[in-house]
Amino acid sequence: MKKTLFSLLALVVIASLSLAACGPAATQGPAATQAPAAVTLKVLVHQNPPMVAFMEAFNKTFQEKHPNITVDMSVVNAGDLSTVSQTRLAANDVDVVDIFGFANAAQPYMKKVDAPNWQQLIEAGLLMDLTDQAFVKNYDEATIKDAGSYNGKVYAINLGRVSYSGIYYNKDLFAANNVKVPTTWSELVAACEAFKAANIPCMTAGGKDGWPIFVGAYGLIGAIYPDQAGLVEGLWNGTIKWNDARSLEMWTKMQIYVRDMIEPGASGIPGDGAPGRFASGVVAMFPGGTWYAAAIDEAKPEFEWGYIPFPGSDNPEDNKYLFGKYDQGWAVAANTPNKEAALLYLTEFSEPANYQAFANAVGFIPTQPTAKLETRIGAEVAPYLANFRVGYEQYWIAPKGAGQFANPWATYFKPYGTDDDPQALADKVQADLQAGLDAVK
């Protein structure tokens, strides 16, 4: 037995040596071309079906062009992106990360607040400085400055702006029920009453994820406080209160929004299920972000829909704004062992043709100056783009010690929360905020 094993081992060794001798020598001379080393590029993105579909197609093309690079893309829910980015960057287990546009850093009037997570990542040295990369110049300067820079250096390229204060509406249902597309709050209330009378749910939302319901009400905040950065500063310095007369109007409307407009049961619909629910044609409206447009079209390409700013005021002039944020971006892990491949990936992604295809697929408002709004949602938002404003949550950092109700969320009202009195809720929200402001004095 021992002898047989020994013979077998010897045979394997001889065969290996012979094969090695026949193969190309790695150091044959300067004329020989070295095959590029195999690289697995780890990419992390958040769940957004049309974006993921586009990235899968892009990755396939990229891999075909660069056979030595394998793209290993992971997809996580948007809410988990910061957590997973943190752990994987710390473990040096990712090369390219999807990162939301940098919201404003802590402002001078904000006392004793913690830095936002993107700033923490940069200060920990976990994101690569991209300032000198040629592909950065493909994006417009304002975007690079507002959504990807910190302390004069570029750490992310942002891929698009999105609006989240609009409403998709079902054109066929509006026509069939003889309902006018609302441009004021009163018209919106009347439209919902008309649909409810016809036994048609007025609005749907992906309430299972929580935020899609209150995101829909950004138009209500925006109609009352069009200057969202000013709102945040006012809340911090006490010139605006969540229980003053203007805010009370907002809370009253928010109650109507969640109680009378959103369809019962919406809290069970997952965020990525809501576009399908709307596209099914059974609901008249869908308050939500522009990023849903591609999913609606994919669910039912022939479906006729339009998109309007949420009419939160009875003065049409107050309803001309679209509030939103800088959405997905790319950053590179500072300690990546695959720096060249990671930068190549971003270079090719940023090529105008690829970026245009991305913007078309995802429906983002482009951040490359050469890109055009070729999508259906692009055409819908084009009239309002001059009035695009960054929304409240992008500026807001809560003071330490503030209570959990210190936000303008419609979901505090029944049936999702416990409140049914706008004044009582407004007082509670302001008290929770004031406790934090007092604590950091």
Partner: protein, 308 residues
Amino acid sequence: MNYHFGRGWARWMPFLLLLPGLAAYFVIALGPSLATAVYSFTDASGLKGAPVRWVGFDNYQEFLFMGRASVDNLNALGRTLVFCFFVTVIQFGLGLLVAVILNQNLKGRNIFRTLYFMPVILGAVIQGLIWSLFLYPLGGPLAKLLELFGMRSEFLGGQPAEAFAWVIVVQIWANMGTTMIIFLSGLQTISTEYYEAARIDGASPWQVFANVTWPLLTPSVNTNLTLNIIGSLQAWQLFLVLLGYRNGTQVLGYLIYATGFGQTSGSVTSSFRQGYAAAASIVLFLLVLVIGTVVQNILRRREARILG
């Protein structure tokens, strides 16, 4: 003197054999626990390379005494105790009941044992998915049932108290199988002679249970109570999967996770605050320690009194 392991170097064998286990315990359990205690006095973000500063008791002061947030934290602590109470009492009672029933000579009892135990082997994500579908408010099975009575509910997305109650239900469903199996194994160690003797003495089924089964189940009772209490005090995954971070539903375990990983404000830019989360962890640890020690003490005394 006689040595079990002989003399000379062999005397060190027990310690050498213990070493791998001790090393694993230190690296996996004790080390991180001690590190958490140290981290709780820092402003660590959990990011590799980020500066870590010593902040003394600031995190504890903020967690327990700063503004309305501290009141919310204490409410979460209270909610944790409520969750622990209901889960422990109901899971313990149901587990015992099912174990006693399935210990009888019933047809198909193995199938039922498997069915009751099955949720235990599913992960929290699968458990959450199953219940999210069951409680889907737009035409899910329970919504349809309520419709028959002219009622409706948002279930998990509804008012915090109702959503919280549903997590208690799911927690019990998910873990009752373990309680049942421990009781079943305890029941099977009780000699049938005791039951025969009791029956000969004319004891009723209740008297048999109260005077034979219950006292002799003491080791299983102790194990189950301890596991149920500690498990429910530390619960957080089902809250994450079923509810997410919602006002009025957080328990301490989930609050720690959400704080440590920047998921508290609903904003995508929330800070990573692992030093602060570590302080909250220590508060939870102390809670588990105090309750666990008191319960263990009571149970040990009871065991000594009953079994001698």
